[in-house]
């Protein structure tokens, strides 16, 4: 098994990870970035050769930052030693300082028909198109919530799809509040206007949310409603996302404090665990500006350049304030909790329907009694959905944090070598991961 070691190890190669890696590398640290994707850039810079993405990639290269891609951190076999799974077998990585830049994933909320093939996440569809999915000529409504919806609609149009509607669940009133808030951030305002222009042929309807998707073999139609009026829209595919959820599984497995689904950090991005830093969306969804400055702070602090890191705190505070205004404007409405019916699948891995899970008392009870959240995605999809639908706390996590083959785990455990034996909350508790039926 391959062993690697670096002074600073960064998990995640999105904007926060790249900024952290570059800054630590520029201060003379050996830096290794571990990333689950085939390329650096995370979700936001996937396939992006824009100036900022290029700049940060180049700074990493100049600073001698090493990368391992298609590699998912599974857990920690001993304090300071991570185990990661890769297509060509597991690896161990020792770190002195660790930066968690694990980003965010899309929030999906269940509604009847959302499991039909052709219903994609909004960011999910964009990622698939970036990796070669040809959507020319397809009719694709974009529904859900958040500032990314119009961005994604514009992207899909640019790739030849027809977007008949962007349905934003937030009300016009809360959107107007956002527009006022934007005046404090001119660069963002210009960006918003540009997007509006790109969208001029696409109706952007606020206060509409999806209530049903239908189709035999795949989605053919979606209904959106504002509570009084329902619009039925024929489609070839549906892009649907309700914002983003911080990825905290790795942080939580490493024992970092989590509050309300976000990793707790100091103003220098220190987590509750000595030597472990976190930056970007894992601290709460904040957008790319926020991720970059937090990545810089984390990288500098991890390298011991604390004064330099402290100078960036003002920039970070402004980016976080903007993110806060956004999240208020796109707050999810009550009605979204009433779209599910008893037959709606909530947990897609285990096919657990709302009728079975809604009466459970808490997340743990739901897991034990219904297997909700116990499948291969480990509650990454249904967990946040149930947190919204029922108000449950779903933060708990234990290794392996990612579906890992028994092979990888066995090898990781079997050849502990010079490093200490796996600790108790390490890799022993295998595994409800691989569906064996």
């Amino acid at each position: 098994m391959e062993h690697r070691h670096a002074k600073v190890v960064v998990i995640g190669a999105g904007p926060a990870g790249l900024a952290a890696a570059a800054r630590a590398g520029e201060h003379g640290c050996s830096v290794l970035v571990i990333d689950d994707n085939p390329d650096s850039g995370g979700q936001i810079w996937r396939g992006d050769h824009g100036l900022r993405a290029r700049t940060w990639r180049a700074r990493c290269a100049a600073a001698g930052v090493a990368f391992v891609h298609e590699t998912a951190v599974i857990g920690e076999s001993a304090p300071g030693t991570l185990v990661a799974g890769r297509p060509r077998g597991p690896m161990r990585v020792r770190f002195e300082r660790l930066v968690l830049a694990t980003g965010a994933r899309e929030l999906f909320l269940p509604f009847p028909g959302w499991t039909l093939p052709g219903v994609f996440g909004a960011g999910g569809l964009q990622a698939l198109v970036k990796s070669g999915f040809d959507v020319r000529g397809m009719v694709i409504p974009v529904v859900g919530s958040g500032p990314l919806l119009p961005v994604i609609a514009a992207y899909l149009r640019g790739r030849g799809a027809r977007v008949p509607i962007v349905a934003e669940q937030a009300s016009a009133a809360s959107m107007r509040g956002l527009a006022t808030g934007l005046l404090g951030a001119p660069a963002k305002l210009i960006q918003a206007i540009r997007l509006r222009a790109a969208l001029w042929r696409t109706p952007y309807r606020t206060g509409y949310w999806p209530v049903q998707a239908t189709g035999e073999d795949r989605v053919r139609e979606v209904k959106v409603s504002n509570g009084q009026r329902t619009l039925t829209i024929a489609c070839d595919a549906l892009a649907c996302g309700f914002g983003l959820v911080p990825n905290i599984h790795v942080a939580s497995t490493l024992g970092c404090h989590i509050t309300e689904g976000r990793v707790d950090v100091s103003d220098l991005m220190r987590t509750s665990r000595e030597g472990v830093f976190a930056a970007g969306e894992a601290l709460g969804v904040g957008g790319v500006e926020c991720a970059l400055v937090e990545g810089e702070i984390a990288g500098l602090a991890a390298a011991g350049a604390e004064d330099e890191a402290a100078d960036l705190r003002g920039r970070r505070a402004r980016a976080r304030a903007f993110a806060g205004a956004l999240s208020d404007a796109f707050r999810l409405r009550e009605e979204l909790r009433r779209v599910v019916d008893d037959a709606t699948v909530v947990c897609r891995c285990e096919d657990v329907r709302w009728g079975r899970v809604r009466a459970r008392s808490c997340w743990r009870d739901a897991k034990l009694q219904t297997r909700c959240g116990m499948g291969p995605c480990q509650g990454r999809v249904c967990g946040p959905a149930m947190a919204f639908l029922r108000g449950w706390r779903v933060g708990d996590s234990r290794p392996p944090v990612y579906p890992a083959g028994a092979k990888d785990l066995a090898v990781a455990l079997g050849s502990a070598g010079a490093s200490a034996a796996p600790d108790e909350r390490g890799l022993r508790e295998r595994t409800n991961m691989e569906p064996e039926r």
Partner: protein, 85 residues
């Protein structure tokens, strides 16, 4: 023009540009269902970024591989799980 790679999807040759994910290659053939759920519902990709596990299928004999995270390479053999076998 991007260089292309040839793989086998459900027993048929497919030529796709290098850099295409397995998920994109399958969708481009008009196949939207990738697997059967535990109650035999047909499912396809959702998250597109390796999280949801809905696009799992068999790659080179290994089951439960995420099609959205795997890049097409020459000689790859991919099998979707649409049939309830």
């Amino acid at each position: 023009m991007a260089e292309s790679v040839r793989l086998i999807i459900d027993g048929e040759h497919a030529d796709v540009p290098r850099g295409t994910s397995v998920a994109a290659a399958i969708l481009n053939r008009g196949t939207w269902g990738f697997r059967r759920s535990v109650e035999a519902e047909v499912r396809g990709p959702l998250c597109g970024m390796g999280t949801c596990q809905e696009c799992r299928l068999e790659i080179n004999g290994e089951p439960h591989q995420r099609a959205c995270m795997a890049m097409c390479v020459d000689g790859m053999v991919v099998r979707t799980g649409r049939a309830s076998d």
